[in-house]
C-alpha cells in the first residue's frame, strides 16, 4: 500500500478534494509530538487498489516559518519520526490563481517526488475571465495536470486512474526555475558535504540563503556556508527567481480578461467597507448568536425530556437496589445528560461557522475585528471563537484551529472560557429573578443580565494582553490573511465538519464527564444515610453529612468573605465539574424536588432562608457576588479536558483553572466588601 500526500495553498479546494477522494474513510488525529492536526484517509482506486492519502496543512511556502510549514517539510523529507515519507504528491493548484500557486509548486518540484497536479476551481475560470492551455501547462510543469470542475465524478475517476499509472510509472518534475549557476553549484556542494541523508536542493538552498534553523551540519558544510555568506548576496534572490519562473509559465499558459470586475470585488466593496461592512458584521453575528440560543432550545428540551425519561426508566428497573439505582439514574444519566444536552448547540454553531468559513465571509469578519483584538496579542481570527463561546466554550476552543499562529491560538484558548457561556444562564436567571427583580424591577433585571454577560467579554481583552506580557510572548510574524473569493459552500464539507465536531464533543467531553459524574455522585452519597422517611428522597440533612457536604462546610470559611454560607459553598463545590449542577444542588439543599431555574418553590425557600443569627442568607449583594464568582470561575471539567487536549499538556488546564478561579474569587471579594455593603 502506498501513501500519497495532498498539498497546496490554502483556499484551493484541497479539503474538498480530499473529502471526495476518501469519502467517509477518514481519520483525524495528531502528528506525534506536535499539535498539528493530521488528516488521513483511504482512497479506493480502480482495479481493487487503494492508497492512503494524507492531507497536509495548506501552506503558501515550504519555507518553515510556522509550525504547519515546519511539519510539512519534515513529512515530505521523511524526517518526522513515526511518520513515513509519502511516496507521491498530489499538488493542488487553484486554476484561477495560477501564478501564485506555482510558487509553491516550484519548491515542491525540488522534493524530487512523483507528482500529479490537480487543477481545481476549473468551473470558475469563466466567471473570473481566465482561460488556460492545459497541454502547454502540462509541458511546462513536466507532470500530468488534471482539471477538476467542482465535485465532478468523471474527473475524479480520471484523477484516480492517473494515480494508478503514477504508481506504476512515477513522473518526477524536472523544471528549471533559473537560479544562478553559483547558487546551484554551492547547493550541490553542500548536499555532498552534509551527513544528512537525502538533503533536497530546496533545503540546501534555504540553508545557504537564509540559514535554515535546526540543520545539523558537518564542519566542512559549515565552512562552506561561511564562505558563501561572505560573498555579497541578496537573500530575496530565491523568491524573486521563483516568482519570475511562475510568471513566465502563467503568462504563456493563461489568457486573462482583466476588465471583469469580479462578483467578489463587488460584494467586498460593501462587506469590508468600514461602515457598511461593520453593520453587516454585527447583523451576522447577532443572527449567529440568536440561532444558537433559539434554534437549539427545542432540541435541548427534547433531550432533557429524553434523559429524564431514561432516568425514570432506570429508577424503575433498579428498584430494590437503591445504591445502583442512584448511581445510574442520578450519577451517570444525570451527570452525562447535563453535558450531552449541549450537543444541539455544538451542531448548530459548527454548521453556521462552516458555512461562513467556506463562503469566505469569515476572513472578512476577521479583517474587520483585527484592530480591536490586535493590541492584546490576539488577532482578528480570534473573534469567531470568542463569539462562539457565548454558546459554549468547548466548540469555541475547537474552532481556534483556524488560527495558524500557535501563540495567538493559545492566548485565545486561555481567555475564551471567561466569556459567559449558556451554562451560566440558568444561574443568572435564578439569582436575578429571585433577588434583583422583586426589589429593583424588571428594567434593572434586564440590565443585570446584560452586565453579567459583558463582564466576561470585557475581561478577556486585558487578560489576553496580560498573558502576552508574561510567559506567553507574542509572535513576530506579520498578520497576514488571505481574503478568498466568495464561493458557495460545498455541503459535503459543511456536513462533514459539523459531524466531526459533534463526534469529538460527545466522545471526549463525555468520557471525562462520565468519570466525574460517578465521583461526584459518590462524594454526595457516602457515607450512606437514611433517606427522608416521608418523601423517600435524599434530604438536605443527608447531603450535609456526605463527603461533599463536609467538604462544603469545611470550605465555607474561605467563601465567607464573599458572603456565601455553607449551602452556597456546597453548591459551588458541586458545580466545579459542570456549572448547571449548582441548581440541582441548591434544589436538594433547599428541599425543592426537581429544581430548575423556573422553580418557584426554590426561589421562595432561598428568599426566606436565614442564617443562625436571623439575618437573611441571600441579600442582593450575596446574589450579585455569587453571580460574579460564577461568571468568572472555571467550573467546567469538559472545558479543562478540551484545553488539555488542544494545548497538549495538563499544565495549561491547571493554569486555566487556577487563574480563572483566582480571578473569580478576587473580583467577587472586592465587590462584596465594597459596593456590596451598600446593597445590604
Amino acid at each position: 500500500m502506498k501513501k500519497i500526500a495532498l498539498i497546496g495553498n490554502p483556499n484551493t479546494g484541497k479539503t474538498s478534494l480530499f473529502n471526495v477522494l476518501c469519502r467517509s474513510r477518514q481519520r483525524v488525529g495528531n502528528y506525534p509530538g506536535v499539535t498539528v492536526e493530521k488528516k488521513q484517509g483511504r482512497c479506493n482506486l480502480p482495479g481493487d487498489n487503494f492508497v492512503e492519502i494524507v492531507d497536509l496543512p495548506g501552506i503558501y511556502s515550504l519555507k518553515p516559518l510556522s509550525l504547519d510549514e515546519q511539519l510539512t517539510l519534515d513529512v515530505l523529507e521523511g524526517k518526522l519520526s513515526g511518520e513515513d515519507k509519502p511516496d507521491a504528491l498530489i499538488v493542488v493548484i487553484d486554476s484561477t490563481r495560477l501564478q501564485r500557486n506555482l510558487f509553491l509548486f516550484s519548491q515542491l518540484a525540488e522534493m524530487e517526488m512523483p507528482t500529479i497536479v490537480a487543477l481545481t476551481m476549473a468551473d470558475t475560470l469563466d466567471s473570473e475571465g481566465v482561460s488556460i492551455d492545459l497541454k502547454l501547462l502540462e509541458e511546462k510543469l513536466t507532470v500530468p495536470v488534471i482539471p477538476i470542475h467542482g465535485p465532478n465524478e468523471k474527473q475524479i475517476n480520471e484523477l484516480k486512474e492517473k494515480l494508478v499509472s503514477l504508481m506504476n510509472q512515477p513522473q518526477i518534475p524536472s523544471i528549471k526555475v533559473g537560479f544562478s549557476e553559483k547558487l546551484e553549484a554551492k547547493s550541490q556542494q553542500l548536499i555532498k558535504e552534509s551527513p544528512e541523508q537525502n538533503m533536497s536542493m530546496f533545503r540546501a538552498r534555504e540553508i545557504l540563503m537564509s540559514g535554515l534553523p535546526g540543520a545539523k551540519l558537518s564542519s566542512k558544510a559549515n565552512e562552506l556556508i561561511k564562505s558563501w555568506s561572505s560573498e555579497a548576496k541578496d537573500a530575496s534572490e530565491v523568491p524573486i527567481v521563483r516568482h519570475k519562473w511562475a510568471q513566465s509559465v502563467s503568462q504563456k499558459v493563461e489568457k486573462r480578461n482583466n476588465q471583469k470586475k469580479t462578483l467578489t470585488s463587488k460584494i467586498d466593496s460593501i462587506l469590508t467597507h468600514p461602515v457598511a461592512g461593520l453593520s453587516a458584521f454585527f447583523v451576522t453575528m447577532g443572527l449567529l448568536f440568536q440561532s444558537i440560543y433559539t434554534g437549539a432550545a427545542p432540541v435541548m428540551d427534547a433531550l432533557d425530556i429524553a434523559f429524564g425519561a431514561t432516568g425514570d426508566f432506570a429508577r424503575t428497573a433498579l428498584t430494590g437496589l437503591p445504591l445502583m439505582q442512584s448511581l445510574v439514574a442520578d450519577g451517570i444519566i444525570g451527570g452525562v445528560g447535563s453535558v450531552l444536552i449541549f450537543l444541539p448547540q455544538v451542531v448548530i454553531l459548527f454548521f453556521i461557522i462552516s458555512l461562513l468559513e467556506d463562503s469566505g465571509y469569515l476572513a472578512r469578519a476577521s479583517f474587520l475585528m483585527d484592530r480591536l483584538l490586535g493590541w492584546t496579542g490576539m488577532s482578528g481570527r480570534s473573534f469567531i471563537p470568542m463569539i462562539s463561546s457565548f454558546a459554549c466554550a468547548i466548540p469555541a476552543i475547537l474552532s481556534t484551529r483556524v488560527i495558524p499562529d500557535a501563540r495567538t491560538r493559545m492566548i485565545t484558548i486561555l481567555v475564551t472560557p471567561l466569556i459567559s457561556c449558556s451554562a451560566r444562564l440558568p444561574v443568572y436567571i435564578l439569582m436575578i429573578g429571585t433577588f434583583i427583580e422583586p426589589i429593583y424591577g424588571a428594567f434593572w433585571a434586564g440590565i443585570s443580565l446584560f452586565a453579567f454577560h459583558s463582564l466576561g467579554i470585557l475581561l478577556t481583552l486585558p487578560m489576553a494582553w496580560l498573558l502576552n506580557r508574561g510567559r506567553i510572548a507574542a509572535n513576530k510574524t506579520p498578520f497576514l490573511l488571505e481574503l478568498p473569493p466568495y464561493r458557495l459552500p460545498l455541503w459535503r464539507n459543511v456536513f462533514w465538519r459539523t459531524y466531526e465536531a459533534a463526534k469529538k464533543f460527545t466522545l471526549k467531553a463525555g468520557t471525562i464527564i462520565f468519570a466525574l459524574s460517578i465521583i461526584i455522585w459518590a462524594l454526595s452519597t457516602f457515607p450512606l444515610q437514611e433517606n427522608d422517611p416521608e418523601t423517600g428522597n435524599r434530604s438536605a440533612a443527608t447531603i450535609e453529612e456526605s463527603y461533599l457536604g463536609q467538604m462544603g462546610k469545611g470550605i465555607q470559611p474561605i467563601f465567607a468573605p464573599l458572603g456565601f454560607d455553607w449551602k452556597i459553598s456546597i453548591g459551588i463545590v458541586s458545580a466545579f465539574p459542570a456549572r448547571e449542577v449548582i441548581i440541582s444542588t441548591l434544589g436538594i439543599l433547599y428541599q425543592a424536588e426537581d429544581a430548575d431555574e423556573e422553580s418557584q418553590l426554590l426561589r421562595q425557600r432561598m428568599q426566606s432562608s436565614k442564617t443562625a443569627d436571623g439575618s437573611p442568607t441571600f441579600t442582593p449583594a450575596v446574589a450579585i457576588s455569587l453571580m460574579i464568582f460564577f461568571a468568572l470561575c472555571s467550573q467546567c471539567m469538559s472545558t479543562l479536558a478540551i484545553v488539555q487536549k488542544e494545548l497538549n499538556h495538563v499544565k495549561w488546564a491547571v493554569f486555566l483553572f487556577a487563574y480563572m478561579t483566582g480571578l473569580a474569587y478576587v473580583v467577587s471579594l472586592v465587590f462584596y466588601q465594597t459596593l456590596g455593603q451598600t446593597f445590604s
Binding site: R100, S236, I240, D268, H273, F367, R371, F479, L480, L483
Partner: protein, 77 residues
C-alpha cells in the same frame, strides 16, 4: 522619505520597489508576491484604518499598517 504601501489611497495601485529595513522580516510577504517589479493595489482599510486590504498577484490579502510601512513603492504620477 520613500513612499510605502501604507500611504496608498483606496483603489490606488503602485509598483513594489524594495523593503525597509530588510527583506528578512518580510519574507512571507515577498513569497506571497510582493517582489520588486510587481504591482500592488490598495483596496481599502478596515474601520480605524488598520489592517488594510491589498491585492497582489490576483490575491486579496489583509496586512497590518505596520507591515505595510516596510514595503517601498513607486506611485504613478
Amino acid at each position: 522619505m520613500k513612499d510605502t504601501l501604507a500611504i496608498l489611497e483606496p483603489q490606488e495601485s503602485a509598483e513594489v520597489v524594495g523593503f525597509t529595513p530588510s527583506y528578512a522580516e518580510q519574507v512571507r510577504l515577498v513569497e506571497l508576491g510582493l517582489v520588486p517589479g510587481s504591482i500592488v493595489k490598495m483596496i481599502q482599510s478596515a474601520p480605524l484604518g488598520d489592517p488594510i486590504e491589498i491585492e497582489i498577484m490576483d490575491t486579496k490579502l489583509c496586512i497590518r499598517k505596520s507591515d505595510a510601512e516596510s514595503i517601498e513603492v513607486k506611485r504613478s504620477p
